[in-house]
């Protein structure tokens, strides 16, 4: 296989065909009434020329248009939007194939957290029994830097269950500016890993520098088309139903250059979208489709990915709430909508609302990882290390998530029901029933030595009186960070550093 296997899911269908059709119709009604508010002049013109009803909305300022999109425009867009998108990688074996009609799920990182959670393992002495000591983790938050992003990429490179990498740390070094942020974040990722790298664009004027970096890595302008080692994300819509100027520009500019882009939308049920599943899913579907239509009017055939990131609002502060079961419901339904249109889907799972690793984090993460991946998305982002509603990245938590995703991937292995496997098992059952102790242990050896069996939780405690999960996760993080770094080849690296302006000296 010349691409990453990911995990092929036999999808759980939360919505039946009739329900999918009803949501589709509701989204079409939304696109016509109230339509979308477009804060981008060029986009408004594209829509108008294509036959949408476009009217200026002066009360929203100079650059605001109400756009009512008829279903015929969507039908046309779906004819040109590719159903299959390939995402490249430094190591071609790490390519990803996103086929809108085949639910092959890839797990990746995200988002762009402001904080890194550092863990120290401290020894405590029991007050009333000084002979008894125990080691517990203590946590400290700090602002993310380039160094943290580089280390995250190195972890991601070595996580066998991480299929793609979204820059997960917001780099806040004092030298980082709007102008140099894009080249530094992309270079930090690409110089530390061989997997596919996705990120948003901070300053669209840097887009060509990032693309040039990708071309140098892939081996030229033509080679990068075959092997796009980077792709982009643009949260085109500001919910509810508004296409913002900056992210619409990013979408159109990326489309012009032919690079894949995730068109994402992240409404919050209960604040920027209806709290009802049917309401938020109909709205986010309309939001994403409006941008898909725009991309295909402006640049027919542009590779776009349906990026659904619906979340639930917490009712005490209206913050995002990722641990709510509704979060999984919303996301699972969106995946079905993407498949209904045959578009590759980017979805989200694995975030906890907890501020630190622990029971809450594990429960919330596993719940959404398992539920949402069952829907059969293509790119499942947010999956590694995210805590505190995506505010914080914890490397040790990412180590744990990697192991937990491995367990999930194992669950999805297809059952092996063949004439041969049935015959083999019947033979074993008959043999064991004739044996003195009737134990099957020796018949487990074949699978055991083929590496087919789950052996034990990777971070299981050795001590009876203390949980050692975090200490072991920390050891594993340190082990990975001590491995050799998979830097770009020296000539490629030098060429990038020479030709791309703005990369900080500390990355040289």
């Amino acid at each position: 296989m010349d691409f990453r296997e990911g995990v092929v899911v036999n999808p759980y269908l939360r919505l039946n065909d009739e329900e999918i059709n009803r949501i589709h119709k509701a989204s079409m009604e939304i696109l016509e009434d109230p339509g979308v508010l477009v804060f981008h002049e060029e986009a408004a013109k594209y829509f108008e020329e294509a036959g949408a009803e476009v009217t200026k909305v002066p009360e929203e300022g100079d650059k605001a248009w109400s756009v009512k999109i008829p279903e015929t425009l969507l039908e046309k867009a779906l004819k040109t939007a590719p159903k299959k998108v390939v995402l490249g990688a430094r190591d071609p074996k790490n390519k990803l194939v996103l086929d809108g009609n085949k639910p092959r799920a890839y797990f990746g990182s995200g988002s762009e957290t402001n904080y890194i959670l550092e863990i120290s393992m401290d020894t405590y002495v029991k007050k009333d029994d000084p002979e008894t000591t125990a080691v517990f983790p203590t946590f400290k938050r700090k602002r993310g830097t380039l160094k943290d992003l580089c280390e995250s990429a190195r972890l991601g490179e070595n996580f066998e269950n991480l299929d793609f990498f979204i820059r997960n740390v917001n780099i806040q070094d004092p030298e980082i500016t709007n102008e140099n942020k894009d080249v530094n974040k992309f270079f930090a990722c690409l110089d530390n890993m061989t997997k596919h790298v996705l990120a948003g664009i901070t300053d669209v004027r840097q887009l060509d520098n990032v693309i040039k970096m990708a071309e140098i890595i892939a081996g030229g302008k033509e080679a990068v088309k075959e092997n796009p080692v980077v792709s982009f994300i643009s949260c085109v819509t500001k919910s509810p139903l508004q296409l913002t100027e900056e992210s619409t520009t990013n979408l159109l500019e990326v489309n012009k250059r032919g690079f894949p882009i995730v068109i994402s939308s992240s409404p919050q049920g209960g604040s920027t979208a209806p709290i009802d599943e049917i309401g938020i899913v109909s709205q986010i579907n309309a939001e994403i489709l409006s941008a898909v239509v725009l991309s295909q009017i402006a640049n027919p055939g542009s590779p776009v990915i349906y990026g659904s990131v619906p979340v639930r609002a917490r009712m005490d502060n209206l913050h995002d709430m990722y641990g709510a079961p509704e979060f999984s419901q919303y996301n699972m339904s969106c995946i079905q909508m993407a498949r209904f249109y045959g578009l590759p889907c980017y979805s989200s799972a694995g975030v906890s609302d907890a501020k630190t690793p622990g029971i809450q984090a594990s429960v919330e993460k596993m719940l959404s990882h398992l539920c949402v991946s069952q829907g059969g998305p293509h790119l499942l982002h947010y999956s590694f290390g995210l805590l505190e509603e995506t505010q914080t990245f914890c490397p040790e938590q990412a180590v744990l998530d990697n192991a937990h995703i491995g367990m999930i991937k194992r669950v999805y292995r297809e059952p092996n029901v063949t004439d041969e496997s049935i015959e083999d098992n019947l033979k074993i059952i008959r043999k064991v029933m004739k044996s003195p102790y009737r134990i099957y242990a020796k018949y487990a050896r074949k699978q055991l030595h083929k590496g087919d069996l789950y052996l034990e939780y990777s971070f299981e405690s050795d001590r009876e009186d203390m949980d050692e999960t975090m200490a072991k996760a920390k050891e594993e993080k340190e082990r990975i960070l001590s491995l050799p770094v998979k830097r770009l080849p020296e000539d490629v690296r030098n060429k990038i550093l020479e030709e791309i302006p703005g990369i900080l000296e500390k990355l040289h």
């Binding site: 102790y437 242990a441 020796k442």
Partner: protein
């Protein structure tokens, strides 16, 4: 095949847990090739000294133990190799000179009366047999009288008692009491089963508690070495 080659091959098949021709061995590829039972019979037919076979079993099991310690082998591997040696011993024993059989000692094992659970007991019995002990397994739901009778007849060095239910732990206590009352103070008694503990072993006068089959084997070997 020279004598040494045959012994080397025997050591290899034991290491691979290849019991007999029908068995698939460690990695599922050995079916149809001579296993431990076939090679032991062949060795005896060729007149190889049974003592040399015993040494080969010991060497092989030592390597199996090392591989288990290093994490390369798992309990099913240990059990398969144990089964190889257990079956091989049954073939070799009649050929041994009087007094040389099972030099490691005799082990009587049973699940106490009222308890029908025997998975753990069976694993322990397989492992101990494979390590070179003569094992007499009385089975499940065994009344104290039967255990005492078997001790009198079989004269074991070690007794292993198993119970899975908290309700049958009291029966275990009775059996230990009876063994001691009958004057068998030299017999080392090992107990095991989920609800049991070292504290419980101490309380009822048993010598050792074993949390799993490996611990049972390790403790048994230590006790034997010490004696």
């Amino acid at each position: 095949m020279s004598e040494q080659e045959l012994l080397n091959e025997l050591e290899h098949v034991i290491l691979m847990g290849h019991i007999n021709e029908e068995d698939e061995g460690l990695d599922g590829t050995m079916q149809g090739t001579p296993g431990t039972e076939e090679l032991v019979k062949k060795a005896l037919e060729e007149g190889i000294d049974p003592e040399k076979l015993l040494k080969t079993f010991g060497k092989a099991m030592e390597k199996v133990g090392e591989k288990f310690e290093s994490g390369e082998f798992f309990l099913p591997d240990m059990m398969a190799s144990g089964e190889c040696v257990g079956n091989a011993m049954e073939i070799v024993e009649p050929k041994l000179a009087a007094g040389t059989s099972y030099e490691k000692g005799k082990f009587l094992i049973a699940t106490v009366q009222g308890d029908l659970h025997d998975i753990g007991k069976n694993i322990v019995a397989t492992m101990i047999k494979g390590a070179g002990y003569h094992v007499k397994d009385l089975g499940i739901d065994v009344p104290a009288d039967n255990i005492l009778e078997a001790i009198k007849e079989y004269e074991p060095n070690f007794v292993g008692l198993s119970a899975l239910l908290t309700t049958t732990m009291t029966e275990m206590e009775q059996v230990v009491k009876r063994i001691r009352e009958e004057g068998y103070s030299d017999i080392k008694i090992f107990i095991g089963g989920v609800p049991t503990s070292q504290e419980f072993a101490d309380k009822i006068g048993a010598d050792h508690h074993c949390k799993d089959a490996m611990e049972a084997l390790n403790k048994l070997e230590k006790v034997r070495d010490a004696s």
